[in-house]
Amino acid sequence: MIISLAKQNIGVKSEIKSIASSALTNKLVELGFLVGKSVEVVFTAPFGDPIAVELNGSVLSLRLEEAETIRVESSISL
């Protein structure tokens, strides 16, 4: 099931499926948010926003509205 990264649960690895076009798209891509990459929400700030995700071994923070533009699919856990 493809959902937005903003709705993904903490600790679930998922794969980036698409990034909606916005003024920020290039900035997200520059940071390494690329289709096919694995991403995991590692923790959220106390009020649930912003969220911190692990990508390529580094932790990046995103506001929910920014995470909203990234669509992901949970990787099947074995």
Binding site: K27, L34, A45, G48, P50, A52, V59, R63
Partner: protein, 651 residues
Amino acid sequence: MKIALFGNPNTGKSSVFNLLTGLRQHIGNFAGITVEKKSGNLQIEDKQHELIDFPGVYSIYPRSKDEEVVYKVVSNSSHIDFPDLALIVVDASNLERNLLLFSQIYDLKIPSIIVLNMWDLAQKRGIKIDIEKLQNYFPGVLIVATNARVGFGKSRLIEAIQNHNLTSSTGAVIENFQLSELENKKGQEQETQIRYQFLKNVVEQVEQVEKSKTDTSSRKIDKILIHPVFGYLIFIGILFVIFQFIFSFASIPMDFIDLQTSNFADFIATNLPRGLLNDLLCQGIIPGIGGIIIFIPQIALLFFFISILEESGYLSRVVFIMDKIMRPFGLNGKSVVPLISSVACAIPGVMATRTISDWKERLITILVAPLMSCSARIPVYTLLIGLVIPKQMFLGIFNLQGIVLFGLYFLGVISALLIAIILKLLIKNREKGFLLLELPSYKMPRWSNVGINVLEKVKIFVVDAGKIILSISIILWALATFGPSGKMDGAEKFTKANSGFEKLSSKEQNQAIASARLESSYIGIFGKAIEPAIRPLGYDWKIGISLITSFAAREVFVGSLATIYAIQDDGGKNVRLIERLKNEKNAKQEPVFTLASGVSLMIFYVFAMQCMATLAVVKRETNSWKWPLIQVGFMGFMAYFGALLAFNILS
């Protein structure tokens, strides 16, 4: 030659810079743009090189004002700061993302060296990089592995700089590369995609990851520091410690500086021939300089702590947990540090807003920062509280004077937030705000980086604020020393002729003369001229004079009152001044300093924009006089009507 230092944020770029230049650093501005330019000298054998530290960026396409300078310099080969050689600092544990910036600079045909930094950390995490293979992908580029935090790799890096043939590479990621226009986001995105396709392949070939890349120890620390309860408690605790240092312990060196300056002024006054030059030195220049250096302990301490928090990686967590709270106010998680800094001094606070990428959030932060009560207001607050607030307990346990002081700070914070909400509604948004931020691994701070950072901040304050505080001090001195012809001498003669003058000691005689001369000087005339405007607030012309002199720095208020009332300085305790002010009567024989007028003055000082140095910095940071003037306007409005309200309610 000119050597540029580029790199992503959090790659240890400043460690590399400090490693190569040590203390031979200076700060200026990039030509034509008001972005701070940090450069340093690098001497290799008999050759001098200029090393320029550019802001940390993920790409040459900027996302904030601060980052634009990279694009502007590398896109224009005739730019004065266009480099002969580029050092690109790369975090070895995140090769792919870090190589993006490098590949852009590489394609612009700038001769380059890759500095593979944080080599140890990458190895600890089980990441192996085949440098030789990496080199093969980018012919003409030299690669040096370093661990700049501990000085590892310095000599090899210097060797690489020496040995670079400085010719541009024949290879390219994108052949015949042309930079996209700044506005062409689509083109930039396509370019980034192409680069990553190439780099993905490169990294697959040169990098081996043994275990998971996850930094587990940082994750454990984050469990506590990001915690919904402990996270905020720890942050509040850290703030408490910082403020304890700034407000209590900093007073020791500050008192010392205060004493030394007044001793020095006395020494000059008695040892140089009397005259105008003597007066200019002792009453204008020396106190002016003293008024600048007195803030150094607080500013140095504040930035000592902020640098430690920044170096350790904690500061980005503060941004992370505060972002949601700050957003309803039109602010950003990154506004927290500038606002906290403003409690020491608004000047470094305003400068610290540069990291906020969104223009609107940055502007609002700049506009409200001076509402945070800065340390120059403390002497004014303490004098007025000592004067009109009784020393008694409230509800049996709270010290009433302490509560009032806390209330003034609280008023500053609350009004800053309320004004931010109003500004959020008024200022048009150009672009949507965002918070794309890296939360780096926790590290032990490097003391040399902390020290250099503190030194740099103090230097900026002394130079930027200093020249304005000093020139205003001199202007105010001139206005207080000169008056319409004959008037001041007349006032002096009149005082001397006064019955009882003979009975005074020579010190008291001098004070009486100084007071009389000040009253008939230009500044005294100004003070009297504005009296009708400030009478509704409960002030007389003597307070008016002190309000005007506060434009040099707010704390001058206290010294001016002391001069007007001909009170000798008793080393900052102001016991005699408070006694004298308590007995001050107006024409109707009513006391001037009542609870109503005292509180009215305190409120005035919470709100009024009386610091020319801050205004100049705001002008520089916003690039126009529009915003500082708006700031003077709304803060002046709040000060006047706030004070008016307080006076009328209480009297």
